[in-house]
Chain length 132, copies 2
């Protein structure tokens, strides 16, 4: 029986929550194995595209530690299932706490192309930009 | 007979070429009817998401005229067919010629979620950001 849209959304939300709780909250970058597909690509603002989970792990490890980022709360705006995959539009609130400065929040919007890999829903293409 | 990947890519390239030749080259914003689906959404850097073709037309009309943009050359980096749709990763070179200033070029990367509508391949979700 194929998953319902609600089941897909719940699976996706649990992946999104991992990104906040493990990667940003605990700096557990190994959790990115459960978030990105092996051949995932990210397209960050201000940098060229980055391909493959190993390079993506380095990106987030560098970013979280250099900005002292402490949370990344993701919320789906729209989930569009297509074939056995899905396209998500979402928004994120990032919190950074640079040493000696007050905490700051950034509002970001994103598009993720999701695929199923190893029985989980993962980010295969991930692009975002800032609202301001 | 389903279209081959090459046929899909050619259809997509002709849509992408319209964006350069008609929208940027001739400022024919009506051509956006053949480029975006009716319920398309764009996620531009520095602004909130914009929904629907009418609002998208206003965005590009304002942007092209205020920046005096003269070309937007798009090139696919990867096309991933999924279901009866496709996800494209691409790059674009935008040329702007502000009055009294030398022409400048901007390198942009993007992800487009393509759907078929009215027998053409069109942009349904369009997000981009700068490399620098």
């Amino acid at each position: 029986m194929p998953a319902t849209l609600d089941q897909i959304k719940r699976s996706m939300q649990s992946t999104n929550d991992l990104f906040n709780s493990e990667v940003f909250g605990k700096r557990n970058f190994a959790a990115l194995d459960d978030i990105y597909t092996r051949n995932a690509r990210i397209l960050p603002p201000g940098a060229p595209m980055i391909s493959g989970r190993k390079a993506i792990k380095k990106f987030w490890s560098d970013m979280v530690q250099s900005a002292n980022a402490t949370s990344a709360v993701l919320a789906s705006v729209d989930v569009m299932p297509v074939g056995d995959a899905a396209v998500e539009i979402g928004k994120a609130t990032l919190t950074v706490e640079p040493p000696g400065q007050p905490a700051a929040q950034m509002e970001v919007k994103y598009v993720v192309y999701w695929q199923q890999e190893d029985s989980g829903w993962k980010w295969h293409v991930d692009i975002w930009n800032s609202n301001s």
